[in-house]
Symmetry: C2
Subunit: 249 residues, 2 copies
């Protein structure tokens, strides 16, 4: 038996997902609560290793053994992380390896002095934005590309090829949202996609410069990533057989 | 010349709007910034004196003299309060007296373990909710009533009669929102309206009991107000003549 957790967190006060000695991380808080409830250490595998300041609406993590009660975990967790569901998964379910896709949303607020209520949740952007250029950039992202220029990587020999099948700017509640779905993402990829697109939309780059980056240009050809606090891991998708809690096959 | 400020704030770390010795309040933070920018003390008059923990999307305050720059004020303000607009208003404009109506929204989240990202912004409500009963309660609120049973008041001889012209439960983004507009509100009135309606919707009160309270029942007949952190002052409306920045009349 394996177990699957659906997790929401406010990334503001965390040094990201992954456990790091001496730093407060989401993984560490969850594993500490899990160890109490399950009466023994359990290691979590996660679908998306979010960086410091990045939030999650629907992060997914897995562990071996029986699922424990979400309510019991929440009673032990600090208030900036919440377990929304804790369910049985097929033996060997792995939240990272089994994921078919990850969906992120990045929220931008335009033309306002600044926000108080959403200050850790949206990017305040004061530059002009040509919406047509944003839409053209987003359309060019669909398909398989080499995202080295969009990657903060300490491992230069790994592949940066990823396939994007949703890439869309949407207006909602007075905010501009960038929704993007891919098989997986390289490190800092979504924030780079947003930052570079915004630079095109304010006229600092041409759309041709942006598009050329998608053919495996080096990191040094890239621009500035958008700040972490506008980014949310929205959803992770799995095949039905990995989700029904019964033995696969 | 008078000036009008449109203000957003996160009420979490404030002891409400109104200045109180030794406590951190929105009024105190704003008046401190205003005094620096305008080089002299200025007193603010506010449309809605929100309590501790209550938020504002569109609070309005007024002061005498010329408007100062919103950007200058924001540079001096802490990040949980933001001036969205600072504009000229007709001589003598008074944000409290001239307001035609106030609109509040209260946000409730149902049937989820709990929320991390919106923990200071919505009420987590785990009881059953009969939506038809909520809608029936809301419909009964329209019109003029005596809200003494909905009022936390230290002044028993003032009138609690108010006129509600919008009262509506709406589902949005997985949340249940109660929108209410009235000429003005008594103290703790919106939170009491929400708390009592939720008690009807979970079957603790009958709708007849709720409706009887609207005829001026004493405070002791009332129930429990909903928590402050789900409440937002959404909007304040003024007559056109008080808003155009030219002399009235």
């Amino acid at each position: 038996m394996s177990a699957r957790l659906l997790i929401e967190y406010d990334g503001t006060a965390f040094h990201g997902w992954a456990a790091q000695p001496g730093l407060r991380t989401v993984q560490e808080e969850l594993e500490r609560a899990l160890a109490v409830v399950s009466r023994g250490p359990l290691k979590l595998t996660v679908a998306g290793r979010t960086d410091a300041g990045v939030h999650a609406l629907g992060q997914v993590a897995s562990h071996e053994g029986d699922p424990v009660s979400a309510r019991s975990l929440n009673a032990l967790l600090p208030d900036d992380v919440a377990v929304l569901e804790s369910t049985a998964a097929p033996e060997g379910f792995d939240a990272r390896r089994d994921a078919l896709s990850r969906t992120y949303v990045y929220r931008v607020r335009l033309h306002r002095e600044r926000t108080a209520l959403q200050r850790d949740r949206v990017l305040d952007w004061r530059y002009p934005v040509d919406r047509d250029l944003l839409d053209a950039c987003a359309a060019n992202l669909i398909g398989e590309h080499d995202f080295e220029a969009f990657t903060l990587s300490k491992e230069p020999y790994i592949s940066h090829r990823r396939t994007i099948d949703r890439s869309q700017w949407v207006e909602r509640d007075g905010l501009l949202e960038f929704w993007v779905r891919a098989d997986s993402f390289t490190r800092r990829m979504v924030r780079s996609l947003v930052g570079y697109q915004l630079d095109v939309a304010r006229g600092a780059w041409s759309i041709e410069q942006f598009t050329e980056l998608l053919a495996g240009a080096p990191r040094s050809a890239g621009g500035r990533a958008a700040a972490a606090h506008g980014l949310f891991l929205a959803e992770v998708a799995y095949p039905i057989t990995a989700m029904d809690g019964s033995p696969s096959g």
